[in-house]
Amino acid sequence: MGESLYMRYRDWRQIVLVFLVLCTGAGFCIIPCQAGEKYFSGGPELFVSLDSSNELVPGTTTDIPLVLQNKGKITMEFYNYYTIQPDYIPTTAKFATVMLLPGNAPLKVKSNPQAVGDIPAGVVVPADFTVEVPQDAKAGHYLMQAVVTYQYVPVVEQQSSTNIEYYFKDEKVVLPVHVVVKPMVDISVENTDSKDLHAGGEGYVTFTIRNTGNDTGNRASIFLAASAGSPVVPYSDGIYVGDLPPGGTAEPRFKVSVSENADPTQFYPLDMYATYNDFEGNTVQSPTISTGVKFGEKVRFERTGPPSVLYPGKTGILSATYRNSGNTTVYNAQARISVIAPFSSDDATAYLGDLLPGQSATAVFSVKTDKGTTIKAYSVNSQIQYTNSDNTAFVTENIPVIIDVQPESGNWIIIGLLLIVIILGGAYFWHRRKKTRAIN
């Protein structure tokens, strides 16, 4: 019984011992898995590149897709059983925000700073921005700036086997982004010659165009387009001007028409651009510019002088004097009247000739008045047809001509003959009386 108890006790002790040894072995096994590493590093090392062409076109709004890469390197790692594995690797750029600045580039960044989150080492992160390249941006190579702000953990302090403390550091790096503003032809209007152009007419506008860009416009054409609602409309849209080097000029001449109701005190807009072969041989369109066109006031005539007097039942002379009250010389002016009952005419046109501004000419028409025509003043329609300096014909609006129909007056010849008869009669009676006196 005693041996049995001893044996029993010995077995129990043996089992406990084996259990403890196994637990120790298991502890050895588990401890490395709980152990941590301590890193030494210079922190994140950020680089930026473009995921697109770096060529920017003036006068456009363009997306700039940036790509950020973290090349941070861990130079040394400490490892032991009692180190707690930190949550943050010192090479990771955390909470990164990217802001794109123009730098020395002549453009505007329209996008706000972009939050891109964490950038671990060896990872690339995109950040898209939108920039606006002004139309007059000078061609060349420029450096934009990608300002990246982030935090990283340079130091991890393990206070004990169970506590660890992180120290975050704010960092800001400015990375250059190399962009190229593409050489373009940029046209500007130096002078506009639109003399002889007036409201309600058509004529020529000659522009003096200068290439203020940096590229040569090979085989260039200048295109003119009416702005929306503009009363000035080109007949044909384009003029070929050949090669247009930087600083060079051209004088395209466009035929345009002007609406009749256009206000001559205003400059009305026209859009203009050039198409050309660029330095790479591609067909390119320059940025569109707006230019204003001035024109004179509408050609106007006014009738002057007293109304013509006609008599019922008689063919009389209708005389109308027209004055060119506008500012434009008209050529080969002809007046035409349109008569209706109680008037009629087979001589309804008259030649006025060339009329300078302020000059007058009188048109004479033969007009017959019906018998029984009411005695009063009548208005007769008249128009003037003329040509401009380009021999284009125009017709004015109606110009009223006043006819004053009066009762028929006596015949001057009859009156004269009556006067002669009276004189002769008087002379005869005077002679008779004198003769009678002499006889008496």
Binding site: V21, S221, I239, G416
Partner: protein
């Protein structure tokens, strides 16, 4: 797992053996990779090895703007490794290219690259990364196969020596590696017409004319079944009559003449208008290609512009008179077989209304004589007379000038006729005659009285 101490027959020395066995077993448990999976690599010189492959079609024509996709593959591999139980997983692989930066270099290729150095991150062994290279093939590029150099720069860890006696720290040692990888770009040959000279025949408003362009194939390809044409950008001002020409074969440096017939809208202003020379051709493989448009100008002349210089003429009422009307061609092309005509009205009636004066050259003036009469005119009125000139243009087409006008003043007669036609004058004359008659009658009466007195 079975355990050896299973019954009471175990002796005292057996317990010790059992304990030793358990300790050894526990030690092996510690070393089991399944609990700390990491490896280290033997120094076999492993390092990343990147190769580049261009994707898609990399054949371009001169002037093309391209986006060439390049696939980078890391073919570096580890040839031997050993378990590193005390190293955290993924800590180090010498075959991983770290922080790869790609810089394309055009080298001798006739292209302009527009890509900055591109960052693509880490590329592990057998991993891939894709970069896009932007550029333009130069206009004067010679056909051929050109290498584009893809310069890739990266770091890799080549060793991790233990730096202390307890083997609890490692020092990562990095190497930088730069590889220049070839990518292939093919510049294709094409038919490229260049305009040597331009000529124009009768390109005047209101009629048809010809545009003749002498072109040379400055490209390197021979085109078969070549079609070339000239297309104005304004298809309202210009209407194509003959759109183009068929050249058949058009080899490099060969010249050809492209002659197209175009109708020009009336009232088109003189000037040069934009157009393009375009077309298509079949290559040696029978594939149709479109010719890149070549910009050119179509010059429109003013044509023959006839103006009546004569503005004002004067005639007397009633009589048939000869008038001289002078015409001038203020345009820039001659008017052939010109014939002037005047158009009368109810009052001014032409007796002879047409005159031919042959060719009226640019800037030349000629005077035509017409006979007209004025029927019941109003004296002092300036009547308008219309006139026009009919002529043939340079291609023999019949043209008609704009209608012109001049004025004819019907002037009152002067001298006795003018006096006799004036009623006032007639009254005065009648009065004078009456006085004279009275005076004569008085004188006669006086003489008769004197003779009757004895």
């Amino acid at each position: 797992m079975t355990f050896p101490c299973q019954n009471h027959k175990v002796k005292r020395g057996g317990l010790q053996l059992t304990l030793i066995f358990c300790l050894v077993f526990s030690f092996f448990l510690c070393c089991t990779p399944a609990f700390a999976i990491s490896y280290t690599y033997l120094d076999t010189g492993s390092q990343p090895d990147l190769v580049a492959h261009t994707e898609g079609d990399t054949r371009y024509y001169p002037g093309d703007t391209f986006q060439m996709s390049v696939l980078l593959t890391n073919k570096g591999r580890d040839t031997a490794m050993q378990v590193a139980p005390r190293l955290s997983a993924g800590a180090y692989d010498p075959s991983t290219a770290l922080g790869v930066t790609v810089t394309p270099d055009a080298a001798d290729a006739p292209v302009t690259l527009k890509t900055l150095p591109v960052v693509v991150g880490d590329i592990g062994q057998w991993d891939e990364a894709r970069v896009t290279i932007y550029g333009t093939v130069r206009e004067n590029a010679t056909p051929g196969v050109y290498p584009i150099q893809i310069v890739v720069a990266f770091n890799y860890v080549y060793a991790i020596p233990m730096t202390d006696s307890s083997y609890s720290s490692i020092n990562k040692l990095y190497n930088q590696k730069v590889q220049t990888l070839p990518a292939r770009l093919i510049v294709m040959s094409e038919v490229k017409p260049s305009i040597i000279s331009e000529k124009y025949e009768n390109m005047v408003p209101g009629t048809q004319g010809y545009v003749i362009a002498e072109v040379r194939n400055t490209g390197y390809a021979t085109g078969n079944k070549v079609l070339l044409g000239i297309t104005p950008s304004d298809n309202i001002t210009f209407q194509m009559v003959d759109e183009g020409v068929y050249l058949g074969r058009f080899g490099p440096d060969e010249t050809a003449s492209v002659r197209v017939r175009i109708a020009v809208k009336e009232n088109t202003a003189a000037g040069s208008y934009p157009a393009v020379l375009d077309g298509k051709y079949w290559d040696a493989d029978g594939i149709i290609h479109t010719i890149k448009p070549v910009h050119m100008g179509i010059t429109v002349s003013r044509g023959a512009v006839i103006e009546a210089i004569t503005k004002d003429l004067t005639i007397s009422p009633g009589a048939t008179e000869t008038i001289n009307v002078t015409y001038r061609n203020t345009g820039d092309t001659p008017a052939i077989n010109a014939q002037a005509r005047i158009i009368g009205n109810q009052v001014i009636i032409p007796v002879s209304d047409s005159v031919s004066f042959g060719i009226l050259g640019p800037g030349e003036s000629k005077t035509a004589q017409f006979r007209i009469s004025a029927k019941s005119p109003i004296a002092g009125k300036k009547y308008d007379v219309d006139t026009e000139v009919k002529y043939q243009d340079g291609l023999g087409a019949l043209m008609l000038s704009e209608k012109m006008s001049f004025g004819i003043l019907v002037q009152k007669q002067e001298g006795p006729g003018a006096i006799l036609s004036n009623p006032v004058y007639l009254i005065i004359i009648a009065g004078i005659f009456a006085i004279l008659i009275y005076a004569v009658w008085k004188l006669y009466q006086k003489r008769s009285l004197n003779n009757s007195v004895p």
